[in-house]
């Protein structure tokens, strides 16, 4: 089953009001070609889940600069002044989540858990509005699952089944996001017939579509 799609088929996956997870850490491991196409599509009112706000001209920062993002759920926005400006102007909301909690919340959705108890954020403003659950005298925050309509991930190599491996620190949030969205699109920088079954990071059953990076 060939999962490769072209730009046109990708564009048909995009809609206003979608929740989209985007892999990458400060734009390292973000599928830039797919982000460019989301910019080109002009879809708006998006909820973006990403480790950070990227840069003004890299990563999900391009979507923010183009006024397509209603809500950003991220752990850090400091390297993109546009994100702060959009927040101050009231044109974008931002939910800041500790990075480890963000990873676990996405994992919880992908792995079918109802939530996880984490010590992270106890006694801080992260606790606000959350259930505090005590076990054995220790307090934990109940953090809830985080899923998406679409995940856009960046892979080094896809094989013809859709198995994926990643490149160095460009791996980051990509594998866990591949577990947590209704539709998963991977931008593959290379393709190959098959990968070593011991080294596959994302099994093909989790990947719906592959876009081959050109050039």
């Amino acid at each position: 089953m060939d999962k490769t799609i072209d730009k046109q088929a990708f564009m048909a996956l995009l809609h206003d009001n979608q929740t989209i997870m985007v892999g990458g850490f400060m734009a390292c491991g973000t599928p830039e070609t797919l982000i460019d196409w989301v910019v080109e599509s002009g879809v708006g009112n998006l909820t973006i889940i990403c480790n950070d706000a990227g840069f003004k001209d890299r990563g999900v920062g391009k979507l923010i600069a183009n006024d397509q993002v209603k809500t950003l759920i991220a752990s850090h926005i400091g390297l993109n002044p546009e994100a702060g400006a959009h927040m101050s102007a009231g044109t974008m909301q931002c939910e800041l989540v500790p990075q480890g909690t963000l990873a676990e919340r996405i994992r919880a959705h992908g792995a079918g858990l109802g939530g996880i108890l984490t010590p992270t954020g106890v006694g801080t403003i992260v606790e606000e509005g959350k259930r505090v659950i005590e076990t054995d005298g220790t307090k934990y925050l109940l953090e809830l699952p985080l899923g998406a309509d679409l995940a856009l991930i960046d892979a080094r190599v896809a094989d013809r089944h859709g198995n994926l491996v990643y490149d160095k620190t460009a791996r980051n949030f990509n594998p866990v996001m591949a577990m947590a969205a209704k539709t998963v699109v991977a931008l593959a920088h290379e393709t190959t017939a098959t990968l070593d079954p011991e080294n596959v990071v994302t099994p093909h059953v989790l990947v719906d579509h592959i876009v081959k990076e050109v050039g």
Binding site: C28, G100, A103, T169
Partner: protein
């Protein structure tokens, strides 16, 4: 020697052979330059590697090999890559021996504020909340004052990164241990009197046997 070098050198002495260490962005990064030759530590970068090496020469830059501050780095022999879930599993699970990070404020009970100045600076907590809660030993490495105002407080006034998790504070003036009974001054810069340190610290200090810092 400038303040940052004094601090970085002193923090480096806290590391033991075989330790897994996470160094925060900025001043803490300098600690890597002062690790004694006979000590072999493993540096983690929370975006997805253990075995952080020095910055590459320009011809060796790999855009998919970065640290948590989005700088290009290298991987040492024996190092490896992993995703964000694994990275924060290692962090939250207590597998990091020492984490070193900066502060906006740190208080006598070991509470730390380092990620937000409401209405002014909202970069986000990134991985700091998980690191401070998860690491076995938390060292705050910071200049003693900010524009003349003490950073060590009786109680933090800014929103916390974590409550009562800091074990040790190293500044250019001295070294402090956070114990059950309060904040102990345990070392001082040879040129700085105990009185000066007390004066520049906004928290009660317990002063017993105060050694001289190696500078």
């Amino acid at each position: 020697m400038d303040a940052k070098t004094i601090i970085a050198r002193r923090v480096a002495q806290e590391l033991s052979d075989g330790d897994l260490v996470n160094l925060g962005i900025g001043l803490p990064t300098l600690v890597a330059n002062h690790i004694p030759d006979h000590i072999h530590v493993h540096l983690q970068s929370e975006n997805g590697l253990i075995g952080l090496g020095p910055q590459p020469t320009e011809d060796k830059v790999d855009k998919n090999l970065t640290n948590a501050g989005a700088e290009y780095v290298t991987l040492k022999e024996g190092g490896m890559y992993f995703d964000s879930v694994t990275s924060f599993g290692i962090i939250r699970g207590g597998h990091v021996d020492v984490t070193v990070l900066g502060a906006l404020e740190v208080d006598q009970h070991g509470s730390l504020a380092s990620w937000i100045i409401p209405g002014k600076l909202v970069p986000g907590m990134g991985g700091a909340m998980d690191l401070v809660v998860g690491a076995k030993k938390v060292i705050v490495a910071t200049t003693h004052t900010n524009k003349g105002r003490p950073k060590i407080k009786a109680a933090c006034s800014l929103p916390l990164t974590a409550k009562e998790e800091v074990d040790m504070i190293v500044t250019e003036l001295g070294v402090f241990h956070v114990n059950e009974d309060g904040l102990h001054l345990v070392e001082r810069h040879p040129d700085i009197s105990i009185e000066t340190i007390i004066e520049q610290t906004d928290a009660p200090l317990i002063v017993g046997d105060v050694k001289l810092m190696e500078v």
